[in-house]
């Protein structure tokens, strides 16, 4: 716990609408430690990005944090406003967005965008900032970094742009990087490079990474631990290895079953029937029960199960095979 860079406690985000209050993030808990990559998976609309945006304080109105606490390096940040939040999030949190085509200002040179962050948060001269910007570009594997500082974003390819964005996130030396689907817009070979890059940087610098994605393959490849989100809640949280090989929550099991993994052999992929409940029509009890093959009366009647320090939020976690548990 003392090592945790980011601690989220009972975080709840609500959106008041005409049709009632929506709760895209509902009492979630997790920690990310130094040098650790926490993967957050879930299907579209599960609240992954909302949770990420809540952490950096970029929730758009009318969404707002209505409960819980967010701690960054021992400071509570969910209640910070204005100037304090600005100073803090820019300095300690870096963000890698999904689409490298729009996450760079098309009319500013790369070097200017890199130095902008440093000049805002670090007390250094313009020359020094430029040197560090070149070093950052070099570190993410941009060749001839010093010359490329004067290039515009359109002069880079998609993969290189995502590298630049990562350099941008890194240049103020944050302790946490939130990567919101950093590889979705890239082709597979570039994805692998970007993932390897994130992993290396995280290891070398001890930066904590929150990796938001819906790609189980990316998670299995990259993350140390994984949090599975379903309908705004955490369904399962555990070490990547355990979760991938022996999912406890039926939803995770369904996710795994629908992901082609070479290790599982070439079986026909399963699919989870139905779709995620809309936020306006959350079922009573466990949110997953309408789609769950193991659902019992208790799943419909009891309030939703909580994670309470355990691995999965389920009344009937899937038992691991006997020979493995023994």
């Amino acid at each position: 716990m003392s090592e945790a860079v980011l601690s989220i406690r009972n975080l709840t985000v609500e959106i008041p609408t005409r049709g009632g209050i929506l709760r895209p993030v509902d009492q979630i808990n997790y920690d990310i430690n130094r040098g650790e990559i926490l993967g957050i998976v879930g299907e579209s609309g599960a609240g992954k990005s909302m949770a990420g945006n809540a952490v950096i304080g970029l929730l758009n109105r009318p969404a707002k944090i209505t409960g819980g606490e967010i701690w960054l390096n021992g400071t509570r940040i969910d209640q910070l406003e204005g100037e304090d939040m600005r100073r803090l999030r820019g300095k300690h949190i870096g963000m890698v967005f999904q689409d490298p085509l729009t996450s760079l200002n098309p009319l500013l040179r790369i070097g200017d965008q890199l130095t902008e962050t440093m000049l805002e948060h670090l007390d250094i001269s313009r020359d020094k900032a430029r040197k560090r910007a070149a070093a950052a570009l070099d570190e993410v594997g941009i060749p001839a970094a010093a010359q490329r500082l004067d290039s515009y974003p359109h002069e880079f390819s998609g993969g290189m742009r995502q590298r630049v964005v990562i350099a941008l996130a890194l240049c103020a030396e944050p302790s946490l990087i939130i990567a919101d689907e950093p590889t979705t817009a890239l082709d597979v070979s570039v994805q692998a490079q970007i993932i390897a890059l994130l992993k290396r940087l995280c290891r070398d610098r001890g930066t904590a990474v929150m990796l938001i994605t819906h790609d189980m393959g990316v998670i299995a490849e990259t993350a140390d631990r994984v949090a599975v989100m379903y309908a705004g809640r955490l369904a399962e949280l555990g070490n990547v290895r355990d979760v991938v090989t022996h999912p406890e929550h039926p939803y995770t099991d369904g996710l795994m079953g629908s992901t082609p993994l070479a290790s599982k052999g070439l079986k026909r992929l399963r699919q989870i029937s139905g779709s995620m409940p809309r936020l306006t029509a959350m079922p009573e009890g466990c949110a997953f029960h309408p789609r769950c093959e193991f659902a019992q009366d208790i799943c419909r009647a009891e309030p939703r199960p909580k994670l309470n320090g355990g691995r999965s939020a389920c009344h009937f976690p899937i038992q691991q095979p006997a020979e493995e548990t023994a």
């Binding site: 300095k91 500013l108 902008e116």
Partner: protein, 314 residues
């Protein structure tokens, strides 16, 4: 990308620009070249009017009433002097008055558009970025103003301003009041376009990123959003310039614009139309043709600019 090949030799910005798509589009379009040339010639003529003009039409000492109503290119019956484009009733050389009139027309037009631009861009940016009731108020004012013809708004502002300025300052102030009046009647377009573009840009991730690193709203608007919304503004500014010149001419023609002591093209046309049916056609025709050529050229240039800056229209 260039990982092993050496970077190309740095070249001058001008050469770089000339090789660019924009300059290429320009070179390929005869309409653009011609209208640009016409506009530039007129701008130069306006700037250097005192050097080019053969007479100073506003120096009463140099005027000779005997020269009045000289036909173009014909020696005057009394003095024997020849004027290229003839003279008006007071013996002023029409060519010279056109040069000076062009000066005032262009200056008023450009300044009015500049004023409208600054006002419109600021309000549009702020409205879109801040949102909420600020946006509602600004844009509703804009909507209301759009329901009046711009020329009426300009006349109203001009009339009110004229009413409150003391008589002895009226002629001096007229030009500035004209600029403000036309500018105030024209800012709406800029505000609307900038607001629309800003709404798109402000949700792009680079703006989020700028917010994330802690840039203030002002810095984000000026440094990140403004440059990205400027190209449609440039197009409207050009077309607005033509409209502002015409608006100024209209106001002056109606007698509420540039005073006779500082005649613009519109004033010249107003003066000239009084002589049209008595046979002195040149007093009207030449200023009118100049205005027509200027407005047309600026408009065509704006039209071309819109096409050139918008790849979707090609």
């Amino acid at each position: 990308m260039a990982d092993t090949t050496p970077a190309p030799k740095p070249r001058g910005r001008l050469a770089h620009w000339w090789d660019g798509d924009f300059a290429y589009q320009f070179r390929r379009s005869p309409v653009a070249i011609i209208s640009f040339t016409v506009v530039m010639l007129m701008v130069l003529a306006a700037i250097f009017a005192p050097l080019i003009a053969p007479y100073d039409p506003f120096d009463p000492a140099s005027l000779n009433l005997m020269n009045g109503f000289s036909s173009p290119m014909e020696p005057n019956a009394f003095t024997g002097e020849t004027f290229w484009l003839g003279t008006d009733d007071q013996g002023r050389d029409v060519f010279s008055t056109i040069l000076y009139g062009l000066r005032i027309s262009l200056f008023v037009g450009a300044a009015a558009v500049g004023f409208a631009m600054v006002l419109g861009i600021t309000l549009g940016l702020v409205a879109a970025y801040v949102g909420g009731w600020v946006e509602t108020i600004i844009m509703r004012i804009a909507d209301v103003q759009l329901t009046f013809p711009a020329i009426l708004v300009a006349m109203l502002i001009f009339g009110v301003a004229k009413g409150i300025t003391p008589v002895e300052y009226r002629d001096q102030m007229a030009i500035w009041v004209l600029i403000v009046a036309i500018g105030l009647s024209d800012w709406v377009q800029f505000a609307r376009v900038v607001r629309g573009a800003t709404l798109v840009e402000k949700n792009k991730e680079y703006v989020q990123a700028a917010r994330l690193i802690g840039r203030g709203s002002g810095a984000i608007m000026l440094r990140h959003i403004l440059p990205n919304v400027l190209s449609p503004v440039l197009v409207i500014a050009t077309i607005s310039l033509a409209l502002a010149i015409i608006a100024e001419a209209t106001l002056s023609f109606l007698g509420v614009g540039a005073p006779p002591t500082q005649p613009s093209l519109g004033t010249l046309i107003r003066i000239g139309q009084g002589f049209l049916f008595s046979g002195e056609w040149w007093i009207l025709l030449f200023p009118a043709c100049t205005l027509l050529a200027l407005a047309l050229a600026v408009n065509l240039l704006g039209d071309w600019l819109r096409d050139a800056l918008n790849p979707k229209l090609r």
